[in-house]
Symmetry: none
Subunit: 218 residues, 2 copies
Amino acid sequence: MLTPKQYKLLMFIDNTIKENGCCPSYDEMKDAVGIKSKSGIFALIEELIERDFIRKLPHKARALEVLKTPKFKPRDIIEEEKKIKLALQNSSVQIPLYGKIAAGTPIEAIAYENETTSVPFDLVERGEFYALRVEGESMVEAGIMDGDLAIIKRANNADNGQIVVALVDDAEATLKVWQKKDNEIWLKPCNKDYEIRKLHPSRVKVQGILNGIIRRYN
Amino acid sequence: MLTPKQYKLLMFIDNTIKENGCCPSYDEMKDAVGIKSKSGIFALIEELIERDFIRKLPHKARALEVLKTPKFKPRDIIEEEKKIKLALQNSSVQIPLYGKIAAGTPIEAIAYENETTSVPFDLVERGEFYALRVEGESMVEAGIMDGDLAIIKRANNADNGQIVVALVDDAEATLKVWQKKDNEIWLKPCNKDYEIRKLHPSRVKVQGILNGIIRRYN
DNA sequence: TTATAAAGAACTAAAGTAGAACATTTGTAT
DNA sequence: ATACAAATGTTCTACTTTAGTTCTTTATAA
């Protein structure tokens, strides 16, 4: 509807009239709006007139009239929206806790376990998430320890280098680094003592991508 | 009626006008809606005009006017709002986020930084907590990586083997394993490349005990 | 492939800036 | 009232920046 300068000028005029009772001159306006020539004010006012925000008596001094100002949202609505924004940034949500990963059971098989866990909201913004308890040492060099809670985003495929929940032979779910090489899928652990598994793509399915880790001490 | 992008754009325009009084530019819109080119905004606006949701003065800057907003919302917007509702219900615990650990600055010195972060309830049940961003590799073998968020419980002393925030010489805060040996305090890193620091008890103060780790991928 | 959508670059129009000159109105002194 | 000065509004030109439009290229999906 209005450009920032137009808006600023309109509000200045409106304010001045309401406060002082009389309309500011072009020179006063140019100082208030922060431009150095009256001609600019003239142009702005022409624009405002064209859009029916003000009216003027031509060639008369200080003869502007504000017809309308842009309508504002009630303050409490703005407050409400700020609250929601904050809540989105800072809240936690419940996501299902399915069970343990690297335990030899596909995730679907344990999906009935109806536990949930709460995680900060910004960890799980878009998409469907679930949590798994990490079991074993195969990812320790990536800072993923036995007992950690892995936050997983449901997905069917992954990019090379991402840490994924991979289901092998529809029987065994495991957390590994995903690497697609020609006609093989490599599931790479992050631990010198474990070996890379190289599998035919038909044997491996992505069930999710690692999105976060939560660990608890005591 | 409207596609999600169209709806999002329409609401953004409506909001901006109501909040700022002036219409956003195409560049501002493209950032808000999340597309990378103004031409996309142009197309969306043409669509919205065709459907009589907005009006524009062609070739004028910031000259859009919202005529109406839709009664029905696209499905994924509804999903989004459900998430918001859920997030509001699950409002979680706010704890202060002080800054970086192992950066050579005592925690009190950076306590004025008024950021907060949210953590799941069960991570911070009893006591006073704060969060620190981990910097450096000195604890990688304990699965604590550079960039992790460390949840710290405020405390003045610790048991052997606990990971603590230790303040050395009132000058340097660091995250290490705490070990009291006779008349010495050992601050043990969890990384072969780092050495154990052995200090006289008068030089070391416990500022908190590590209670949890939160890591985010992407 | 083909069709479609998004991104990007190039182009055009409008908005803003500045200074000066000019016109009109208003106030003041004669 | 008349003349003049001061204040204020208007017009013009030149230029810079910002914004809207159009077109081409690049991804993406069917």
